[in-house]
Amino acid sequence: METQNLPEDFGQEVYETLKYIIDPEVGINIVDLGLVYQVSLSEEGELVVDMTLTTPGCPMSGTIRTAAEQILLKRFPSLNVKINLVWSPPWSMDMITEEGMRQLERKA
């Protein structure tokens, strides 16, 4: 499936939408936690999100994946949405954004 880069504004909108999904354990949104690896648009008009979880086998995997899919479908009803859960590269703390780190520190 061929994919293409998103227009910058649209890509930003996708990321902003995904920020509504909060990791239920950490309490930080999945974008700032660094779980969203890539967002792209296929030639067939399918919005494809590659994302991971903080640990393989996470019991929340199904729920977070569904949440991401549902919120994108609601925000972009004309698009098909596909969420790929990927483990490579494995998630690490380095992937947390500056905003995510600030939120972690604020919780201390």
Partner: protein, 436 residues
């Protein structure tokens, strides 16, 4: 990028009944303790103490561990649970066996009810072992945590089998040595083989995960596994066949193994990104601190020191209390609030996430009740230990009240979560995500 599978979580009816049963068993334990203050003045082989120990070990600790493990096994082993039906059947046998065994011990009825109870428990342990082993076989990669969990299940079965032999021996004596000799074996392989190994195996994965700490070096965990199992195997063989004076050496091996685990956690904690420690994790750290007490006492009781008999009896009792009412209970009281809210949340909101604003798992229980639960627990534990050491029934009663209060607060919170239903959800409106 390699694709991953979706959630491996089992159905809620596999997991949640275990939490409900365990909470009720903990409440029963508190009430039974209120009526057992007279039992702490002598030997540990006392009907009321045997009842308390088995309600604590089986109805409370093993029950909640079974339930939590069906949820966590897929997390640790990264594959689906082998059979939900086996899990449900094991729950039935464990629940029925525990109730019948508790009744039998309380009334010291050594006939058929106790035999049926012991058989029921062994069946539960066999079913559990099949489920764990078959799930582990499907695991995409084998880790040291898998070793801990699978081995702990085997030790649980051995513990149950020794218990069954002892029950049979009550009515048809055939064992060559006195009953308490096998009771020591039964108790220690249960405490160190089942509870300790299982807790280390799961804790080594979960505690760093909850702290957002990534610690890859598992050498200390390997040492921990080898030392504890070496100590247990040598203790079992020696106790059954030779009865040498090397017990402190075997105890030291187990203690060294636990210390390796604690060092592993300390190293992991150094890399943690989460600075906020919630009440559930605070209670977990209390449990880890309380673990030091039985580690110290196992060296004392295995050394056969020339202590006055009354003091020695009290030390034995405090040793048992420090394991079941101390470390294990403290850990469950904390970890329940790191697991159950997420399990309930997942089942309650999986159809709504992404479309509606949902509460967070931490919003599903009362933090005030939890704070008071942790306080009353610690007070109850201190009073119970002090009362047993001082042989003061009034102080023991104070401890029993503390535990009963703790169990009421805990059960109220657990049932608040178990009965949680999604309602009045508002759909997402798009604006500033930070305010969602």
């Amino acid at each position: 990028m390699s694709a991953a599978t979706t959630s491996n979580s089992p159905g809620k009816w596999v997991v949640l009944p275990h939490y409900a049963f365990a909470a009720l068993a903990f409440m029963a334990l508190g009430v039974l303790l209120l009526f057992s203050t007279d039992a702490f003045g002598g030997h540990y082989f006392h009907p009321k103490l045997l009842t308390l120990t088995h309600v604590a070990a089986l109805g409370w600790a093993t029950m909640v561990i079974f339930g939590a493990l069906y949820q966590l096994l897929p997390v640790v082993l990264e594959c689906k649970l082998y059979s939900e039906k086996l899990a449900t059947a094991a729950f039935g046998f464990l629940g029925a066996g525990t109730i019948l065994l508790a009744w039998s011990f309380w009334h010291f009825e050594l006939g058929w009810p106790m035999h049926v109870a012991a058989c029921s428990l062994v069946i539960a342990f066999i079913l559990f072992n099949i489920n764990v082993a078959q799930t582990a076989r499907k695991a995409p990669k084998w880790t040291i945590e898998s070793d801990f969990i699978v081995t702990s299940a085997i030790w649980l079965l051995v513990t149950g089998l020794v218990g069954l032999l002892m029950v049979v021996n009550f009515t048809m004596p055939f064992l060559p040595v006195e009953h308490t000799h096998y009771l020591k074996l039964h108790a220690h392989i249960g405490m160190a083989g089942w509870f300790l190994l299982l807790i280390i195996g799961v804790g080594a994965k979960l505690i760093p995960m909850f702290l957002l700490a990534h610690h890859e070096d598992t050498k200390k965990l390997n040492w921990s596994y080898n030392l504890i199992n070496a100590g247990l195997v040598l203790f079992t063989l020696d106790h059954l066949l030779f009865q040498t004076a090397l017990l402190p050496v075997y105890a030291a091996l187990v203690v060294a193994g636990v210390m390796c685990f604690l060092l592993y956690l300390r190293e992991a904690a150094k890399t943690r990104q989460r600075q906020d420690i919630d009440l559930g994790m605070k209670q977990t750290f209390v449990a880890l601190a309380l673990l030091l007490l039985p580690l110290l006492l196992v060296l004392v009781v295995s050394s056969q020191l020339a202590l006055p008999q009354s003091l020695l009896s009290s030390v034995y009792l405090v040793y048992g209390i420090s394991v079941f009412f101390g470390f294990i209970s403290a850990l469950i009281l904390g970890q329940t609030f790191k697991t159950l809210p997420f399990i309930v949340w997942m089942h309650a909101y999986e159809d709504y996430v992404g479309r509606f604003k949902t509460p967070m798992p931490k919003d599903m229980y009362s933090h005030t009740l939890l704070r008071w639960q942790n306080i009353s627990y610690l007070l109850g534990f201190i009073l119970l230990v002090a009362g047993v050491l001082l042989r003061q029934q009034q102080v023991i009663l104070g401890g029993a009240i503390g535990f009963t209060l703790t169990s009421l607060l805990y059960t109220a919170n657990v049932f608040q979560m178990l009965l949680h239903k999604a309602h009045n959800l508002k759909p997402f409106t798009y604006g500033n995500a930070k305010s969602a």
